[in-house]
């Protein structure tokens, strides 16, 4: 553009002429300026009409309590839910909430919401087929579904559903297997926690459906020292119920040390030390820490001796805990030089042995658990761990000593998609090691450490509406192969039917098998994006007799459904929730519907009762009859409130107590562990897991190589995280154009790669790329991901790339949802032969994948 040069005289001429012209040109319709402040948004854009208590039970593990603010939008004159307001009295959220809670508000009014039942008329399923939807009433659709289900044997059906009370009763009464989609998030945590500490069923095992079934939270506010094994994933960046506590702890001086190949914004600001660990090697660091603590005897001796099984003797032959005839655990008494029940032993040996003892008249060699643990980690020196993990040896040693020094006010938080979760086949070993470190530091059930839920329970459906007769047995085989994993099958069948299933194998099971004919998807609103290798499930569903879904949106799973039933929005349901993720105090919070579900929406409880009454009425009536007048009420919330003496019923709780109750008594350290742990009534943490020994897996934490390895061009370890404003691929968020814009401006739709790796591949910022799984890992139905790269040194290593979960719907019925790639396309379905040798729970896998990145 050329430079404008004007003389002063010219300027005056132009200015004068312009002003004169302006003066004589008619300017119509001008109005006087109003008061500036008035015109410039000095008034609220809405007028509040009511505030309705709600609980965020689906966005993450926090379950924040807040109010949904309803008001009249002054521009439109329409009354609607406007926004959220915090509830400072809630122990979890303390007046905070996150962007997802706000997104849910607008999700209620999303024009793509499913408000009527859909019925397929074109029998051919698939993404390229027009289903020929016709609308029917939900009642009519359900009647037709029931008639079709009746045509099938129970072995031919599977429910893909979380273990909520109604799903459980429905599946058990029909004698149908349930495969739980939550596996990929927290199956590892659930089973390890169950096998080491919480020992379900126990007095606090609650029917409240919370996302991880954990009975504890972490005292981020009061802890002195935290170790994060990948805890600071991008998804954590949005979890207000956790973050408000972490921030308080940080301001109080908590030291945070993290290991993560990614440098997240939380690491930028809140971590004192961050080490870009090699993906999948966290276990080496954790084992080295265990070794240092035991060798240097810097563990919490009182806790280890009195609240764990460290002194319990293990039979060297059977590999199980030794018990007396009453089932009491036995220890070696160093005072009396004999085996004694642990609860009456004054001087239990923590090391030494083998001791010769007599069990059932037979002489056996016995070794204390802690001694076995020490032997397991004898080669795990800090130098050895440093070689594997790239975390310096001196750091491992120093951090371990600092952790021990700060104990018991320490914690190693682990939830969902942290490395201790579903990430690797070795995740179960890491989870085992982390729980062991919690035990060695005495931080379990301790203020400033791991807080146990206590003093509150919501009963199970069976407690308030007892069964007239026992449930029928479940089919011997499960389409998700759970029956091939005795560790998880036993808990599911005998202890906790709500336990997570093997969803990472359901696609393989349906694709390879021919027994299943009916598949039920209980949303909730995530469709195929919640699955790994959904292409296998898609293919499998094409051959089914009946597929139906209960969903908030017509997401991409409906391409394969015969019927889709419209679900209410989460703010259209009542709730009662325990404060599980910061259970410092016994507490209950309630939520009431913000509005009546629009259209022909139908609740899951109503669906379960209707199917139950039609197909197994004896389990759904108060007297075991078929009389629909006697259908069970299922009011667990009222029962919980009454049992605790909080209120007579939910209505009274909501109206007279604003739906919140907190018993602010001081936390009693180690009290709950005694009540729920192993060896009750003197409950303990069980470091040594007999169930693993039974299936020839390591009963104590031990090193194992990663399941998979880099190979040729397939050299990038696949890391997955999620934007703070996404939850799986819930269309509440990804069908929101404003959130999509936020995502795009933060590169969430890109493949993140380190500058060095990008340079080596000749990639520039924004270049289109194809990401492909090693075909040796994904032998069938590969579906490479197409995207563009974002080059960033937040990827701190050159041996990994980052993808974002929670995007990538393909439904043409979502106007903004068909956006981004789907990470699950790159993660192969598991199957028993590949999983069993590595993982007794079958829950780890998701990031045990190596990929190739190439310019598209």
């Amino acid at each position: 553009m050329g430079e404008v040069k004007l003389k002063r005289r010219d300027l005056l001429k132009i200015g004068g002429a312009t002003c004169l012209t302006a003066l004589f040109t008619p300017l119509n319709n001008l109005v006087p300026f109003t008061n500036f402040a008035e015109a410039a948004e000095s008034e609220s854009k809405y007028e509040i009409t009511k505030k309705i208590p709600q609980v965020c039970a689906r966005a993450c593990e926090c379950d924040c309590a807040y109010n949904v603010v309803v008001g009249v939008d002054k521009t439109t004159g329409i009354e609607r839910a406007i926004t959220i307001e915090g509830r400072p009295e809630d122990p979890v959220s303390r007046g905070k909430y996150c962007i997802k809670a706000l997104g849910f508000v607008d999700g209620m009014y999303n024009p793509d919401r499913l408000l009527v039942a859909l019925k397929r008329t074109n029998p051919k399923r698939g993404v390229d087929e027009d289903p020929g939807w016709v609308t029917v009433s939900s009642d009519e659709a359900l009647n037709e579904i029931i008639e079709k289900m009746k045509e099938h044997k129970r072995e031919e059906m599977v429910f893909c559903s979380p273990g909520d009370p109604y799903s459980n009763r429905l599946c058990r009464s029909l004698g149908v297997r349930r495969s739980d989609q939550r596996t990929e998030c927290f199956g590892t945590h659930y089973y390890l926690n169950s096998l080491m500490v919480t020992n379900p069923p126990n007095k606090y095992y609650s029917s409240t459906y919370t996302v991880t079934h954990s009975l504890w939270g972490f005292d981020y506010s009061n802890t002195k020292y935290m170790l994060w094994f990948g805890f600071d994933s991008f998804s954590k960046c949005g979890k207000a119920g956790i973050l408000n506590h972490i921030a308080e702890g940080k301001r109080n001086g908590t030291k945070i040390v993290g290991f993560n190949p990614l440098r997240t914004p939380i690491a930028d600001g809140m971590m004192d030390e961050w080490y870009p660990i090699k993906p999948g090697t966290d276990l080496a660091v954790a084992l080295a820490m265990i070794k240092i603590m035991i060798d240097e005897k810097i563990y919490h001796e009182d806790f280890v001796k009195n609240y764990t099984d460290s002194a319990i003797l293990i039979d060297a032959d059977s590999k199980f805990h030794i018990t007396d005839s009453d089932g009491k655990w036995m220890a070696w008494c160093t005072e009396h030089n004999r085996m004694e029940p642990i609860d009456s032993c004054d001087a239990p040996a923590l090391d030494g042995g083998p001791f010769t003892v007599t069990v059932d008249g037979k002489e056996v060699q016995a070794i204390p658990v802690l001694q076995l643990l020490q032997e397991n980690v004898k080669d795990c020196t800090p130098e050895w761990a440093a070689e594997i993990s790239d975390v310096p040896a001196d750091v491992i040693s120093r951090v371990t000593r600092e952790l021990a020094e700060a104990a018991p006010n320490v914690c190693l938080p682990n939830l969902k998609r942290d490395p201790a979760g579903p990430n690797y086949s070795n995740s179960w070993r890491l989870m085992h090691a982390i729980n062991t470190l919690h035990a060695l530091t005495g931080s379990f059930d301790h203020d400033g450490g791991v807080l146990f839920l206590h003093g509150v329970k919501i009963p199970w459906l069976e407690d308030v509406d007892p069964l007239a007769k026992p449930y029928p047995p479940l089919p011997e085989k499960s389409p998700d192969f759970r029956h091939e994993f005795p560790v998880t099958e036993e808990i599911y069948q005998k202890k906790d039917f709500s336990a997570p299933g093997h969803y990472g194998m359901i696609g393989y099971g349906l694709y390879k098998g021919n027994d299943t004919k009916v598949v039920v998807f209980k949303g909730p609103h995530r469709g195929l994006a919640a699955l790994i290798q959904p292409q296998m499930t898609e293919k499998a569903l094409e051959k089914m007799d009946l597929v139906w879904d209960w969903d908030l949106y017509p997401d991409d799973i409906v391409y394969w459904c015969d019927y889709v039933l419209p679900a209410p929005h989460q703010y259209e349901e009542g709730k009662l929730d325990i404060r599980q993720y910061y259970p410092k105090y016994p507490s209950l919070v309630g939520g009431e519907p913000v509005q009546e579900p629009p259209g022909d929406c139908i609740g899951w409880g109503a669906i379960a009762k209707k199917i139950g009454l039609a197909m197994a009425p004896e389990y759904w009536t108060t007297d075991g009859s078929s009389d629909p007048e006697k259908v069970i009420e299922g009011n667990m919330n009222d029962a919980a409130l009454k049992a605790l003496g909080v209120a007579e019923n939910t209505k009274e709780f909501l109206t007279e107590q604003d739906g919140i109750w907190v018993d602010k008594k001081p936390y009693e350290n180690y009290k709950t562990l005694r009540e729920i742990g192993y060896g009750r009534p003197n409950g303990r943490v069980r470091l040594y897991i007999d169930e693993f020994a039974k299936v020839s897996h390591e009963p104590l934490p031990k090193w194992a190589e990663r399941w998979t390895a880099a190979e040729g061009e397939y050299k990038f370890s696949l890391l997955i995280t999620r934007a703070a404003w996404h939850m799986h691929a819930d269309p509440n968020f990804i069908n929101n154009r404003a959130l999509n814009d936020l995502s795009e401006k933060n590169y969430i739709d890109c493949v993140w790669i380190s500058p060095n790796a990008a340079q080596e591949l000749g990639l520039n910022e924004g270049d289109p790329v194809i990401v492909e799984t090693n075909p040796k890992q994904m032998k069938e139905l590969p579906r490479p991901v197409k995207s563009k790269v974002h080059i960033t040194d937040r990827i701190a290593r050159d041996d990994c790339i980052l993808l974002f979960h929670g995007i990538g719907h393909r439904s043409k019925w979502l106007q903004h949802g068909r956006w981004g790639y789907r990470d699950g396309d790159l993660i192969p379905q598991k199957y028993p032969e590949v999983s069993k040798p590595h993982d007794p729970t079958g829950m780890g896998w998701v990031e045990d994948v190596y990929v190739k990145v190439a310019k598209a």
Partner: protein, 230 residues
């Protein structure tokens, strides 16, 4: 009411953008936000978090450059925009050294933060501050906020952005890394004067723009009135 300021301590910010969406709901801006026009957004950059939001300058360039008085600074230190006198000339868009005002061409108005004047004037905090999960945002008296910012910066070896930029602002941002390296605009400590059309062709150009803008406004108003009559 005295003068106010907002402290943004990015060492406690996680980039969750709850502030982004709360602002959208509080100010009923979803339709504009769907087109990418918003008052605040947090960007996750390589070296830290970039908060894109009006800095509410002591001597705002938008006020200085606006030919029609569409901007004003309240005694509380808040820079407000009024659509009514706005000519749509985008002088403010060009002039702002922080690249804040955005023209919403569909609605024909400038979009920028009001520091929730409607809440602040009632003694409440701005919505973004109230909602921040980690209290990385803090609202308070200007003196208190600037003193706290200086103290935190000294204690934790942080950079301060906004205290002196463009002659000083009412939004003070603390960062671990150099703010300019993160992505914050490099802004002179002295007030940026007339970066917009005034600097190019002087008063005549402003007059011409003013005329064009008023004419456009007048025509548009006629169009709206016409539609109302239909």
């Amino acid at each position: 009411m005295g003068k106010y300021a907002i402290l943004v301590d990015t060492t406690f910010c996680t980039g969750c953008n709850t502030c982004y969406y709360k602002c959208i709901q509080e100010n009923r801006l979803l339709e504009s936000a769907e087109r990418g026009i918003v008052r605040t957004m947090v960007f996750t950059k390589d070296n830290g978090l970039y908060h894109h939001r009006c800095m509410h300058c002591e001597e705002p360039s938008c006020i200085d450059t606006c030919p029609s008085g569409a901007f004003n600074k309240t005694p509380e230190g808040i820079v407000l925009y009024d659509n009514q006198p706005c000519l749509g000339c985008k002088s403010c868009v060009i002039a702002c050294p922080f690249n804040i005002p955005q023209m919403d061409t569909e609605k024909g108005n400038i979009v920028k933060c009001t520091m929730c004047y409607h809440r602040v004037s009632k003694g409440e905090q701005p919505a973004c501050v109230e909602v921040c999960p980690t209290d990385a945002l803090e609202f308070g008296a200007y003196e208190d906020i600037t003193n706290k910012a200086k103290q935190l910066a000294a204690d934790n070896n942080l950079n301060i952005y906004g205290l002196e930029e463009n002659g000083g602002t009412s939004v003070i941002i603390l960062t671990k890394e150099d703010p300019v390296a993160i992505g914050y605009p490099e802004v002179s400590k002295s007030v940026t004067k007339a970066r917009g059309p005034k600097a190019v062709v002087g008063a005549a150009a402003v007059a011409a723009l003013a005329y064009a803008g008023i004419k456009k406004y007048s025509d548009r108003r006629a169009e709206i009135e016409g539609k109302k009559d239909e």
